[in-house]
Amino acid sequence: MSFDSSKNYSDLEVYELVEKCQLDDKQALEELLRRHEKIIYSTLYHLDPKREDIADLVQEVLVKVAKNVKKIRNPKTFKYWLNQIIMNLFYDELRKKTRKIQTISMDTAFVNKLEDEIPQGFDVEDMAKKPHEEILGGELDEIIKKGIDELPEQFRIVTVLRELQGLSYEEIAQLTGTNIGTVKSRLARARAKLQEIIKPYLS
């Protein structure tokens, strides 16, 4: 135990950190959150490319991790557990969004038409690059990003969970509420679509 505690936290495996977190080790929890912050950001960013407040969502996920880390039964399944939180949040936000769209009432549209042509309830998309995008330079990267953004949502989810998070087909099936066969075919089709886009840039 004494040897363990002298070990640097950044050298620890994720499951070791989780085990320490479960013993109320605040330093381990900090390292755990810090280590996963970026991957959470990137995941959410690719799941919902049009979203602006991803930093807030990241914070929400991190808070949930901090709160519930003691409830993980098997520390080695942390990645799957983390993605459960991410996907739940993503689906919740998605539902909120569709609800919001539904509440744009017919009256406002009618009034706006009378007053002027631009309906006030709609946000105009900011065409300027987000700071995160500016760093991601490179022509091929831009092409890939655009390709991923344009994938149908189901395909995009599967691609992100596999290529970014590296989850197994079974885990993806559980997270998306489908079966392995569906995951297999969705992933194959998503890759085929992306391949078409990437092909001209390959040697």
Binding site: L33, D141, A188
Partner: protein
């Protein structure tokens, strides 16, 4: 001489005549000529034989071709089946049997090998892209804040629990202890004091005053 010219004209048109592509006048003219000209009749025979021969051999080659097509279609079916499995094959998500099937096919089929190579390249590109995107993702969350919030919440929880327990206890103690206080107070205080509550008793004990003085304290008399 006249006949010769005629025969040359006819020969030129024989092919079209066999194909029935002449107008009625020319057709009649040729038929008339053929009746009287054995030379041209021979020409016609030879030509029609050649044409039918050609047709035969062409027909055979096309039927040969159609067999190739069938094979091709069969092959492409197998390839399509394998191509579907390339993506899970790359991820190691196939059964043993399927892995063997795909590997064997890849060894013999250059087309699928190429497909697999392209798929691998695509996936590598995606992986690189996502790795870069993770590296470049902003890390602005105030993790210390989250941790301190967690602490604060814990404290809040503990303090709320403490307040609950305290109030419960005090309620309980008032319920059970107050009547005893009142009894004792009544004993200590003179009988003309009709009512005295526990506070009076506490005051009396703490200030060590007689119950007469106590009355004065309670009613503000000197």
């Amino acid at each position: 001489m006249d006949n010769q010219i005629n025969c040359q004209d006819i020969e030129k048109n024989l092919s079209a005549y066999i194909d029935d592509e002449l107008n009625d006048n020319d057709k009649l003219f040729i038929e008339e000529h053929l009746k009287n000209c054995p030379n041209c009749q021979q020409q016609l025979n030879q030509l029609s034989q050649t044409i039918s021969l050609c047709k035969n051999t062409l027909g055979k080659t096309t039927s040969n071709l159609s067999i190739n097509y069938k094979e091709l279609i069969e092959k492409s079916k197998i390839c399509a089946n394998i191509e579907e499995k390339l993506s899970p094959f790359l991820d190691g998500e196939l059964s043993r049997q399927e892995i063997i099937e795909v590997t064997e096919h890849l060894m013999v089929c250059p087309h699928c090998r190429k497909e697999f190579y392209h798929l691998k390249q695509t996936c590598n590109c995606l992986k690189n892209y996502f790795e870069k995107s993770i590296q470049n993702a902003p890390a602005k969350t105030e993790i210390k804040n989250i941790l301190s919030k967690e602490k604060y919440k814990e404290y809040a929880f503990v303090s709320i629990a403490a307040v609950c327990i305290f109030s419960l206890l005090s309620w309980f103690s008032i319920k059970t202890i107050e009547p005893q206080f009142i009894e004792k107070a009544k004993e200590n205080v003179k009988s003309d004091l009709i009512y005295v509550n526990s506070e009076a008793f506490v005051l009396a004990n703490s200030y060590h005053k007689s119950s007469d003085n106590l009355l004065a304290v309670i009613y503000g008399q000197n």
